[in-house]
């Protein structure tokens, strides 16, 4: 008999433990692999040159000094070579914004004894780790509806503080469906156990201006296999529904079909919007999902850039 447990509400806010786990996971990210994939995608992850002069670090071009400009901008080393005055221009560089959202509803505080960690813990660790990784490579990370994008080195701690102070989203199943800018990307981490049409509405809302995104579905092994037998009363954690089933084994077969259909619909929905869909089981290590997410983000950018 598989034993399951439901976490109290306080456990659904990140604590010191989750934050540190996320940081340690971020540090353990195989950077070389990441770099290789970046090279393959012909893209240096992070600061993206805009192929035009602007505020940036790397050299773009020398142009002749125009009268009326500030004399400070003259590059004297270049100007000394001949009789003309030159100004050094740098390439305009800008960082990308990523929006992360973590489902912290009651159904996330759930763990069976088959899982390595509760769903909520896994979701938070994953979200923080990704955020830290992105900030490390120069991106800016925000939280949907909670925090504007920023590139602080202590992004994990900042996000944790934001989450702890926010009590309202403990009941929210879905992120706010407000659209984000076209160049931004959204990463939604949750169990997505809502009716598909609700999820579809949210996804369409976020991507209304053409932004892209990634769904990460955190699944407890019990939710996938339903290894129960005999008579049981099932309780839902959010709506207070309960269902009495006489023969759990027979009911489990129907359930597995049903959950398969649910996933297929989600897959189809994300595909239609150009998003990606990732299923992560809590009996697998978190790094697996993190790596896949990093790859997906890079690949999506590559495709975008390649298409340009």
């Amino acid at each position: 008999m598989t034993r399951v447990r439901v976490l109290p509400e306080s456990a659904r806010s990140p604590g010191r433990q989750e934050t540190e786990n996320a940081l340690s996971l971020a540090h353990r990210m195989p950077r070389l692999v990441l770099e290789a994939r970046r090279v393959a995608a012909n893209l240096a992850h992070g600061i993206h040159g805009r192929r035009r002069a602007g505020i940036g670090e790397s050299f773009w071009q020398f142009r002749p000094f125009v009268a009326g400009e500030s004399a400070q901008r003259i590059d004297w080393r270049r100007s000394g070579r001949d009789d003309r005055l030159y100004v050094r221009e740098r390439e305009w560089e800008t960082a990308q914004n990523l929006w992360i959202w973590i489902d912290r509803s009651a159904s996330m505080g759930y763990a069976s004894e088959l899982a390595q960690a509760p769903k909520i813990e896994r979701a938070i660790v994953l979200g923080f780790a990704l955020a830290d990784c992105f900030v490390e490579s120069g991106e800016r990370v925000g939280m949907l509806g909670l925090m504007a994008p920023r590139a602080t080195r202590r992004i994990a701690e900042t996000m944790a503080q934001t989450l702890v102070t926010d009590r309202a989203s403990l009941e929210e199943d879905m992120p706010p469906a407000a659209p984000i800018a076209p160049q931004h990307e959204a990463i939604l981490i949750g169990d997505f156990l809502s009716p598909v049409r609700d999820i579809a509405a949210t996804v369409e809302g976020i991507s209304a201006r053409g932004a892209r995104g990634h769904l990460v579905m955190i699944v407890d092994p019990v939710e996938e296999t339903f290894p129960f037998q005999g008579q049981a009363v099932l309780h839902d954690l959010e709506d207070g529904l309960s269902l009495r089933i006489g023969d759990a084994e027979a009911w489990g077969r129907a359930y597995r079909e049903r959950i398969g259909a649910h996933r297929a619909e989600l897959q189809e929905l994300t595909h239609r919007r150009g998003w990606t869909f990732t299923i992560h089981r809590t009996d697998r290590p978190a790094s697996e999902a993190a790596l896949r997410l990093l790859t997906l983000v890079s690949a999506a950018r590559g495709a975008k850039l390649g298409g340009r």
């Binding site: 156990l193 049981a232 009363v233 309780h235 269902l243 089933i245 009911w251 129907a254």
Partner: protein, 934 residues
Amino acid sequence: MFGLPLTFTVPLVLTALAALPAIWLLLRITPPQPKRVDFPPLKILADLRPEQETPARTPWWLLLMRLLLAAFLILAASGPIWNPLAEDNSRAPLLLVVDNGLAAAHNWRDRMNLASERIEAAGRDGRTVAILGTAEAPAGLELSNPAAALERLRSLKPQPHLQDRRAHLENIQRLLESTPDAHIIWISDGVAGVDGQDFVSGLAQMTDDQRVTVLKSDRASALALAGVENAGGRLNARVVRAEPNGRDSGTLRALDLRNLPLADMRFSFDTNATETSVAFDLPTEIRNAITRIEILGESSAGAVNLVDERGKRRRVGLVFGGTADQTQPLLSPLYYIERALSPYSEIRMGRGGVADSVNQLIDEQVSILVLADVGGLDRETLGRVTSFVEQGGLLLRFAGSRLAAGNDELVPVRLRRGGRSLGGSLSWDTPKTFAPFTRESPFFGLAIPEEIGIRRQILAEPDGDLSSRTWASLADGTPIVTADRRGDGLIVLFHVTADATWSNLPLSGLFVDMLRRITSLAGAASDLTSEARNAEIETVAPRMTLDGYGMSTTPPANARAIPRTYVSRATGDHPPGFYGPVDSSLAVNALVPGDTLVPLNFAPLNARVEPLAGAQTVDLRMPLFMLALLLLLADTLASLWLGGHLSNLSGRVRKAGAAASIVLASMMLFSSGFDARAQDLMSRPIDENASPALITRLAYVITGDANVDETSRAGLLGLTQILSQRTALTPGDPIGIDPSRDEVAFYPLIYWPIVATQPIPSEVTIRKLDAFMKGGGTVIFDTRDAFNNRPDGAVSAEGQYLRRMLATLDIPELESVPNDHVLTKTFYILDTFPGRYATGQTWIEALPPRAEGEENRPARSGDGVSPIIITSNDLAAAWAVGPRGEYLFPVVGSNQRQREMAYRSGINIVMYSLTGNYKADQVHVRDLLERLGQ
């Protein structure tokens, strides 16, 4: 029923068994409680209805268990009885007569079971019951319902005396008159009481043929002790039984005042005999200690015989006519008599003059009065002694110069004035020896050593009955011990002195044996000592009595006092036991010497006689209800388990249990911190595979103050190292001891730092310390306060503590160590004994005063070692070394060599405690050599 010895009181209930199939059906479709599963994906599945709603079946074993439970309940309600008594279908009242005298005690439980079976059977038949215990005091008989009768029966106990059944005849008569159809059941022990056959014949007159049922064993099985006699140097016990019953042998056990067994003796009956006798042939002192003899395993008051002071150690009073020089005891005749008699008798010495002594000893109620060389008595004293003898006292006289000079009437034979000398320088005779004892003599059988020599004696006037009064004579026929009866008493005269001046008889073992024989004679005649004079008016209260099983108890409320002269057997008012104060108890026994047990003859009753064995009726209701209850418990547990609650519960229980055990363990640790330390210390010698007895080691007392204890340990460790370096002594590691629990005898020297804040050691500890010091051990008390000593001489807290502690100890006189004390010379030559401080004085047992000619000796010592050394210099702190050999404390003082001197003091003290006054002799050698050289 069904050929089984099984009946049901309410058989109608059994029809409910028919309902079992219905119960089966009901139980079968009632499933166990479903388990609860929390399951988040339910939200998206709300439209997914279960396909199959058939509940899981109740497991078959649970079903079976519940059916069994129901069946057991129904069966129990129907009142099944296994092995019921044969019904006699009578509704007549029942009179249950239960013998509870001393013969019934040994199988009392069987009798009670039998009686309660009968009462329960009567209860099932709806009969009323009256209970009569034959050894109880007669009381009106009342018919009551069986439950009340059962209570009444349970209050019956076997009584420790022989019953008088006749007293109950009247009550039975009255009952039979009111209820003529009453049935009588008599559970009898088969032994006639004090009334003999009267009860049976009386009952036979009242009843007709078949109204009496007698339940008795085939043969009366009781054994009893009837009389114990202390005669002829042996203790004879008489075992009786009512009739030959196959219990032909057994064991008698003699016990002392504290119920410790002294001797076991087998007894055996001839097959048809009803009485037998066992002799305890024991040394007198052991025989005298016997207070109780019992038949092992009989557990009845009749099988116990108490032995009182009559026939115990005699009290002997000694009076000497001359003046005894205390410094030369061997010259006093009383010395030899006392030495000969004291192992077997209680010796009282007379004080003052002869008359005073005699009066005092007679007042002390001696049973033997010894007058050694007492010539004449004044008239008043003579009268007292004469009445003492005539009332049964034994007067033992020894000759001497005073008796030879003139005598009174209290001699067995007429004596010649003057004496007869044999083997002297003016006589041709050699000292005479004894002739063999004649058969009439109480000394018959004693071996006569050849070296006995009588040099002088008092001669008896030749007389007609002289030979009959002679107990022993010399080889030439002159009487040497004569005796005569006087009233109830006896006068015995030795014609020689009790010291070695006239003969060497008092130096021989024969003297001891002769006195013992005489002493045992006194027992036979001395029943009426002066205690008897006022016996008629003196009564003694019961002090300890026997209950029906022969166990000693406090006297019951109805036990009454007895007169001193009480000699008959115990009754209900006077239960057997000891009466009167401890040192002169009167024993009352259930049976007196000469009693026999007589079997009852039931023939006149013409009754139905049934064996004592019960029918073993078992009421099955209780076991069935218990089974049902157990099944109910099991069912509850199974339901919980099936519902999945049991695992939660067990987890919670496990957590709670772990927490509880942690709390418990910590509490135990906390409370037993001291114990743990002591055990640690105790186990250490075993760990090192060396008991404290095998290695000499220094010891310190654990005061409880951790700093002081650590200093003591480090100090003794330092001293131990120095001792190993400089002397031949290699002590083991020092050990901390707790004198209240550790054995201290192994250590020659104990260092005891005084901590004023600790509680004073307990009385037990002080006693142990005393024993240690008396046994040759030395204790160094270190008050460690020399530095704080005030110039005005006020006593510090440590000093006061030490004084309080030693207040109850037997401490010898102390002095500050003198310059010529052996302690100053044992290894080093020292003047003072500094420690960390040098200003304190060291106190030691005062030496005896200087003897003449010893003035110039360099060292003196007393006998043995001073048990106590008191210092205030904090010796251990000066000796203390750390693990790297560094000194832990600085010394306080101007002398650079103070630490060295402290070590030397320590070495001297250890050497002193180990070698004692040896050095006091050794240091003479130089003087001796010098003198010899001159």
